[in-house]
């Protein structure tokens, strides 16, 4: 079977769902342009390929949008780029955790770290390990580990 139509269906389903969330997020002053949506969906495809995963339906982006649109660190200038980073980080953590965490659990951890220790720096989430994510989500950042963190 040619899996190209499947990929096209995935892209269409994801774009439709993200588009529908624009109305909801306008109240936070956040909107994704068609170009943003296309880029995010393309990045999603790359992230899935590189982590060896397959996604059906609208994917994880709508959930990430719902969770992070309320963050004080997300504004219309960094909205699309932040979502791109969060999406990358999500699939990485998902694979690392061998699916032991559900989508919602993982997003909750990411939200805690993003709004807490990382102060809205999405690149922090793309550089930390799963173990650090869990530890920081539970306890916040521990100064004893400061020397180990190159980005800090």
């Amino acid at each position: 079977m040619n899996d190209l139509p499947i990929r096209q269906m995935q892209i269409c389903a994801a774009k439709d769902e993200i588009r529908s969330l624009n109305t909801l997020n306008q109240r936070y002053g956040l909107t994704l342009t068609e170009a943003d949506i296309s880029e995010l969906v393309e990045l999603r495809g790359e992230a899935l390929r590189s982590t060896g995963r397959v996604e059906f339906g609208g994917g994880i982006l709508p959930k990430l949008i719902r969770a992070f649109c309320k963050s004080p660190y997300v504004d219309r200038y960094n909205y699309a780029a932040t979502l791109g980073d969060l999406q990358d980080a999500f699939y990485y953590f998902k694979n690392e955790s061998e699916d032991r965490f559900s989508d919602d659990e993982l997003i909750e951890f990411m939200e805690k770290v993003f709004n807490g220790t990382a102060h809205g720096a999405s690149e922090v989430l793309t550089t930390i390990s799963l173990e650090e994510l869990c530890r920081w989500a539970r306890n916040g950042f521990d100064d004893r580990y400061a020397d180990e963190e190159a980005f800090w």
């Binding site: 079977m1 139509p5 499947i6 060896g52 995963r53 397959v54 059906f56 994917g59 699916d99 919602d104």
Partner: protein, 281 residues
């Protein structure tokens, strides 16, 4: 994603089936993660997705496969009803095999039965229907039909073990007990050496009680084999079948399939030393 045979469909039907497959996979992923108490997962590892598509393909295949105008989800439901019936049959067969097993067994055979019991308890006909008892190590002397998957594979082993029970049951209990006491502990499937000894006894025309060989048996069989023709072994095979007096067709077919495999070994050993290694003494 190359198992569901949609390429034979006209282009429009192909597109429709693929759309249905996509929607079905979304539901299957949700149902799978719920079934495993994993919480909600929007994505799954590609390997698992391939397995789930293969499962759909296998299940839909049981219900006649894909066709223009056929709803994939409906076909999946029909296939799952067939699987449920086969699963029940396999569970009944497992109980039958357990209940009819002789009290002497090889360790490998007990383990195989335990493995099949665990397999049936954990079998997931809704999401991974094509998965057979892949970790099972139990050599059966009749060839497994090519391409069988899932429950069919489990049923093949259970059917073989049930037949073996009948063969062992056809041997007088005392003779069987003595045979198992002399059987090397690392024997995997006891039925093949049992039929080998039975065939040897049929060559000697002494009956299958006792089933084990004596030094005198070895000497005599060596002399018979030195002058044997192909017909000598054929006659012995027929005699063994009469002695075992198996009542049902699958059991007779099993013996008929195994004996031609054994005769070249026995026929090839025309000296006493080789025969001593072949028969349980």
């Amino acid at each position: 994603m190359n198992k569901l045979p949609v390429n034979s469909l006209p282009p429009e039907a192909q597109q429709r089936t693929l759309r249905q497959l996509y929607a079905l996979m979304e539901k299957q992923v949700r149902s799978y993660t719920r079934h495993r108490h994993m919480g909600e997962h929007s994505s799954i590892p590609a390997e698992l997705a391939r397995d789930m598509i293969e499962s759909i393909s296998y299940t839909v295949g049981l219900a006649g496969g894909v066709a223009p105008g056929r709803d994939l989800e409906e076909a999946l439901r029909l296939g799952q009803a067939i699987l449920d019936a086969r699963l029940q049959k396999a569970k009944d067969m497992l109980e039958l095999v357990s209940a009819t097993a002789p009290r002497w067994q090889t360790e490998c055979r007990w383990e195989a039965l335990g493995y099949l019991r665990r397999y049936l308890a954990n079998y997931d006909p809704a999401h991974l229907a094509h998965k057979g008892p892949e970790g099972l190590f139990y050599p059966v002397p009749v060839p497994r039909p090519e391409g069988i998957q899932g429950m069919d594979c489990c049923n093949f082993y259970l059917q073989a073990m049930w037949i073996e029970n009948q063969i062992m049951d056809a041997v007088p209990e005392e003779a069987l007990g003595e045979f198992f006491r002399r059987l090397p502990v690392d024997t995997l499937n006891p039925c093949e050496p049992l039929l080998t000894n039975g065939l040897g006894k049929a060559l000697l025309k002494t009956g299958i009680d006792p089933l084990v060989f004596t030094p005198e048996d070895h000497r005599r069989i060596g002399a018979i084999m030195a002058q044997s023709t192909e017909k000598t072994l054929q006659d012995a095979a027929e005699r063994l079948a009469r002695w075992l007096d198996l009542k049902n067709e699958p059991a007779r077919a099993y013996v008929e399939a195994v004996i031609p495999r054994l005769t070249p070994w026995i026929g090839g050993e025309n000296h006493t030393q080789g025969l001593e290694n072949l028969f349980i003494s």
